[in-house]
């Protein structure tokens, strides 16, 4: 399993993660190694096996639909490193 530098750049773009050229080269080597190692899972017969994403078997958890106060709206907004305007975070333009 070989992950080319171009592939690494494509994944980084999907993840919105900037990488230096040096990081691209390093991750190309390291991720290729990890993915080759992961190939060993092909040895396991998983035909007809349902995948698990919730390990204690919980589903459809309900709570009462009650309104709760959130007393720290200002503090949450104050966390933003961007400008705040009318209780909203002002971001840069998309283009």
């Amino acid at each position: 399993m070989k992950l080319s530098p171009e592939e690494v750049k494509r994944i980084a773009k999907l993840a919105r993660l900037g990488l230096s050229d040096k990081e691209v080269d390093k991750f190309s080597v390291q991720l290729s190694g990890i993915l080759s190692h992961a190939k060993m899972l092909e040895e396991v017969n998983t035909e007809g096996v349902e995948p698990i994403a919730q390990i204690t078997g919980l589903k459809d958890v309900f709570f009462d639909d009650k309104r709760k106060d959130c007393s720290y709206t200002d503090k949450l907004l104050a966390q933003s490193p961007q400008q705040i305007q009318d209780n909203m975070i002002r971001v840069k333009s998309v283009f």
């Binding site: 993840a15 992961a38 040895e43 349902e50 919980l58 490193p81």
Partner: protein, 497 residues
């Protein structure tokens, strides 16, 4: 010798006695007024000042908060709850209102949460005193605490070696008496492995036993929160306070919380223990020998020990990193340079803010996790990697389900090797992942696991014995751990620092 010297040495002896005590002993001493809570807290703060330059367990020391809490506790004077007046630290991914919580990352370097994690609320409500926040691998990703952007926590038994990870700060601080107990998190071994490497007790709970709300997420279907303590009894005392369903975390099943201290018997008659043979493959000989000697102790205490086999164990590591890094890549998406945390100074448009803030704010291991996870979840590779691993997860779970029909618990080493040298594995991610070989299966399957001190190698480095049980059977592992501890002296050995 002058009087002043004698006074100083008396104070020193009293202080060192205070910080040697367990939770139970400390609480009893506070109740009977042997010393005040302020004196106790000052002793720990003094110990931190004297030793943390060498160890680096703490990221933030909350001296003012701790002394304020201690004064209040003394004023009330009852120390009724078992954790009342007991000093603790919290791994620095557990949110604390008004107190910086960094995940030991640059991106959250100055993050001050507006609220407490539910687990922090439960502890503070029970009267525990916050000494500070302890070091961890960045976003809990790592097995050595070396990925912390504040630097490694050194092993109290040998300062040239790692304390393990990710809860390296919690483990080293408990082992070196810089706190009475600590709270860490365990996704694939992050409590048990450092507890093993530093010689303290570390309990990973069943997934969902302790609410995760307010604890910075790594892999949401794996992450658990648990105590690092000086004795098994202390772990049971802390678990009594932090366990149970939470309306603030929908993944906490409504399973009754028993009084875990009731399980702490000293004989093991009628207890059936399995020894999984695969958990001794590739284990250093001195570690394997120590665990085998430990198993003999369990037999002498009356346990019925049988060999069992878990043939899928070798697939646990790739299953683990594919699933965990996938979940991590989605969890890390929230750090965008917009809502909180570090933002780049160098962006003209929105996407550039994302790309550059994340590039500047995340460390190497976090970037690797995001890349691997995004790849495993991307179109064309999802079936081959993520979904395949999620199916193997189901098979691993079934293998444990079957074995727990036959035995009450499993016993094996916690880590295949003792503490390694700082820097030894940093450039080889697969070698670092392998440090968790024996701890990830419990993480994958949501099982509880305990690491307890069980010996030392020839270099004088600690060896931990791991006990695992079926989901929500924390009582079983605490029982076995307590009986072992009462029959051995390993937990009494302290590092000289």
């Amino acid at each position: 010798m002058d009087a002043n010297y004698n006074l100083k040495s008396t104070i020193y002896n009293l202080q060192s006695k205070m910080i040697n005590l367990t939770i139970k002993q400390t609480n009893e001493a506070l109740r009977s007024k042997k010393f005040s809570c302020v004196e106790l807290v000052k002793s720990y703060l003094d110990r931190i000042k004297k030793t943390d330059g060498k160890l680096h367990s703490y990221i933030t020391v909350t001296e003012d908060v701790a002394l304020e809490q201690a004064k209040k506790a003394d004023k009330d004077g009852k120390f009724k709850s078992p954790l009342s007046g007991i000093p603790m630290n919290l791994k620095d991914i557990i949110c604390t209102a008004g107190i910086r919580t960094t995940a030991c990352s640059k991106i959250l370097e100055n993050f001050v949460p507006p609220y407490n994690a539910h687990v922090a609320d439960r502890l503070l409500d029970a009267g525990a005193i916050l000494l500070g926040k302890s070091n961890t691998d960045q976003f809990a990703m790592g097995s050595s605490s070396e990925t912390s952007c504040f630097g490694v926590t050194k092993n109290p038994w040998d300062l040239t070696r790692v304390s393990g990870g990710s809860s390296g700060g919690p483990a080293a601080s408990v082992a070196a008496d810089q706190t009475c107990f600590s709270i860490g998190t365990d996704t694939g071994g992050s409590i048990r492995q450092p507890a093993s490497l530093c010689s303290c007790v570390g309990l990973k709970v069943t997934y969902g036993r302790v609410p995760r709300e307010g604890v910075i997420s790594y892999a949401s279907s794996f992450d658990t929160i648990g105590p690092l303590t000086k004795t098994v009894e202390d772990a049971a005392i802390v678990l009594n306070v932090i366990a149970g369903r939470s309306e603030r975390d929908a993944t906490t099943p409504d399973v009754k919380v028993p009084d875990y201290t009731k399980f702490l018997k000293t004989d093991l008659k009628g207890v059936k223990i399995g020894v999984p043979k695969e958990y001794f493959e590739g284990v250093e000989k001195e570690t394997a020998d120590a665990i085998k000697a430990g198993i003999e102790v369990l037999k002498k205490l009356g346990a019925n020990v049988v060999e069992v086999s878990l043939p899928l164990t070798k697939y646990a590591i790739p299953t683990y990193y594919l699933l965990v890094k996938s979940e991590a890549s989605t969890n890390m998406a929230r750090y965008d340079g917009i809502k909180y945390g570090h933002t780049t100074k160098d962006a003209k448009e929105l996407e550039e803010i994302y790309m550059k803030s994340r590039q500047e704010g995340f460390g190497d291991e976090v970037k690797r996790a995001i890349m691997l996870g995004t790849y495993a979840l991307s179109a064309g590779y999802y079936d081959a990697y993520y979904l395949k691993a999620a199916k193997v997860r189901a098979l691993l779970k079934k293998e444990f389900d079957d074995v727990f029909k036959k035995v009450d618990a499993l016993v094996c080493p916690t880590s295949p090797f003792t503490a390694f040298e700082i820097g030894a594995k940093m450039d080889d991610p697969l070698a670092m992942y392998a440090a968790d070989t024996l701890t990830v299966p419990a993480g994958i399957c949501g099982l509880p696991g305990l690491s307890i001190p069980a010996g030392f190698d020839k270099k004088g480095l600690p060896i931990g014995l791991q006990i695992m049980a079926d989901q929500f059977k924390e009582g079983n592992i605490l029982h076995i751990g307590h009986a072992f501890e009462k029959a051995t002296e390993w937990h009494k050995k302290k590092p000289s620092i």
